[in-house]
């Protein structure tokens, strides 16, 4: 197992280098000159040229890339053009908020999705199965900004149960987490249901019944652990989608997280912040995938070490 984890950790290094390259290339193709934007309206050509030189934007692309990688490896993501603060510092003040939001959302995705899926599968074709599957269909189909605005309207504006925007207490967390977790929960519910239905027809479930075990033990011990194997993969993928979703949800609920930072930076052509933000989000995604792989293997030891 330790060998497996070390090997997987080493494998993430080329992935991360690739991520840095892709982020860098994308930023090269973004229209607009950051030096012009930074200099402001009516700046002279000399000022723009001086700023461009300060930022190193007058260097050949390859040189810029090598310098960038070198800095990244030292934990230096550059200076924000807009705030003149180190990008690392900007990200680190925003990141915890986004991580809180993401964890709350993935929690909703997993708990709600799996419970709904299990109920659906064990009571196949019942009224609860149908209602859960209809809700799941809605959850998958409804765009998160739409769901977010609806929740905000009913629960905050009309019923005053939760604050409309902002971040701080658990009450602030409820609606954004539901908004962000809903589609994942719907997908996990559908996946858990089909996986459970497949598993409860297996011979080893019949063996478990023939042992005289109680129905709950059969479902939650013997069936669930097998049924979760494909679900774990889906949850891992959902986490990536969820990270992307924070951009929208943070904007809807005016939460000062990483997603909103990136959106603002894109609007301002604040290249170092965009690069840094995307890079940090990518690293988180790669690490989550690593975690999923390790979890996956501990659930299913048939997966070989290689």
């Amino acid at each position: 197992m330790t060998v497996f984890i070390i090997r997987r950790l080493l494998q993430t290094i080329p992935v991360l280098l690739g991520v840095i390259l892709v982020v860098f290339i994308i930023m090269q193709f973004v229209p607009g000159d950051p030096a012009v934007l930074l200099a402001g309206d009516g700046a002279t050509a000399e000022t723009v040229a001086r700023i461009r030189h300060q930022l190193g934007l007058d260097q050949p692309v390859l040189v810029q890339y090598v310098q960038y990688v070198g800095h990244v490896l030292q934990g230096d993501l550059g200076i924000s053009i807009r705030s003149q603060l180190p990008v690392m510092k900007e990200i680190m003040t925003r990141l915890p908020i986004t991580i809180e939001l993401a964890i709350a959302s993935i929690f909703i995705t997993i708990i709600l999705g799996m419970l709904a899926g299990i109920i659906s599968a064990t009571k196949q074709y019942s009224a609860s199965d149908f209602s859960i599957m209809i809700l799941a269909l809605l959850g998958v189909s409804l765009p998160s900004f739409c769901l977010g605005l609806m929740l905000m309207y009913f629960f905050s504006v009309k019923m005053h149960l939760f604050p409309v925007t902002g971040w701080g207490t658990w009450k602030h967390m409820v609606l954004p987490a539901i908004t962000l977790g809903a589609s994942g929960a719907a997908i996990v519910a559908r996946m858990t249901r089909s996986s459970m239905l497949d598993v409860i027809r297996q011979d080893y479930i019949r063996t478990a019944k023939a042992k005289g075990l109680k129905p709950n033990i059969i479902v939650y011990k013997h069936a669930l652990k097998n049924a979760l194997i494909p679900v774990i993969t889906v949850v891992g993928l959902q986490f990536g989608i969820l990270l992307g979703g924070t951009v929208l949800v943070e904007s809807v609920f005016a939460i000062n997280g990483l997603g909103r930072l990136i959106v603002e930076a894109i609007r301002m052509r604040d290249l170092p912040v965009v690069q840094g933000g995307v890079l940090v989000a990518s690293i988180i995604f790669v690490l989550v995938n690593l975690g999923v792989d390790i979890l996956y293997r501990s659930f299913n030891k048939r997966i070989s070490l290689d």
């Binding site: 297996q202 011979d203 080893y204 019949r206 063996t207 478990a208 019944k209 023939a210 042992k211 005289g212 075990l213 109680k214 013997h222 652990k225 097998n226 659930f299 299913n300 030891k301 048939r302």
Partner: protein
Amino acid sequence: MLKQQQNEPVLEVRNLQTHFFTDEGVSKAVNGVDFVLHKGETLGLVGESGSGKSITSLSILQLIASPPGRIVGGEVLFKGKDLVKATDKDMRAIRGNQISVIFQEPMTSLNPVYTVGEQIAEVLRLHQNLGRKEAWAKAVDMLRLVGIPSPEKRAKQEPFQLSGGMRQRVMIAIAMACNPEVLIADEPTTALDVTIQAQILELMKELQQQLGMSIMIITHDLGVVSETCDRVAVMYAGKIVEQLSADQLFTDAKHPYTQGLINSLPRLDQEQEELQAIQGHVPSPYQMPAGCAFAPRCPHAGDICHTAMPELLQHDTDHEVRCWIYTPEWQGNDSTMMKAGNAS
């Protein structure tokens, strides 16, 4: 010994009827099955695929998937108690404890995500209230008992690390762990290769002698029957058509279906161009013929066979047969049949 066994029935199945209610109609998979399993004996339940053998065994333990299946009639008396009427809780106390079952597919019958030791220990903790450590120790003992080398190491392995024969031994260890009074073995060797088959059957016999339980072996393999069973019940289309001692099976089978099964075996002592198959197919359980279910395939069938189902009648001591030929009503053209039956 046989006489003594007769006095102590452990499991009595009376007129058991298990039907499946599907969109295509009602499938009468088990349609009035009667047999008795005595203490310490081995009964073989024989028949083609689709004759209702496995459904019978699942019905005994109330493991029929419902819906679509349901036991619509009959009794399953275990030590005098009717299991058909037993509550779920009572059934759970019996399953894996007093009546155990070994299934046909050792490759898929063990849970892939738990170690085999855990899977044996689980049943011990459930029925014998053993603690975690005691149950594990006994699980290792059980693995040793079923002849698995280095059981301490094997107990910690997952099923995928074991061969098919090993897995079937593990299934036997699970079934035997609580020292059951009845072991139902549903085609225990069908999925295994021949050398392993013999080992598994030998193991079951040994354990039966050590622990004194009754075994019901479900099989379509007459070789397995002759090797292991005391008595044989032959099933056809959801009914028992003949019951006799295993010794008589090859010499004194009376029912045309049983005779057909025996004649279809390859013979080493005769030169055979072709194997003699029984003509036709098992009737669909959705559409049973009006009279004897075997009549459409029977070379001796007379008029009465197509109109009414004969009773299971005592033919001899320890020998029952369900066939019009052996009844006083028989007026068929085929008086040679009885001789043929005796001769074969």
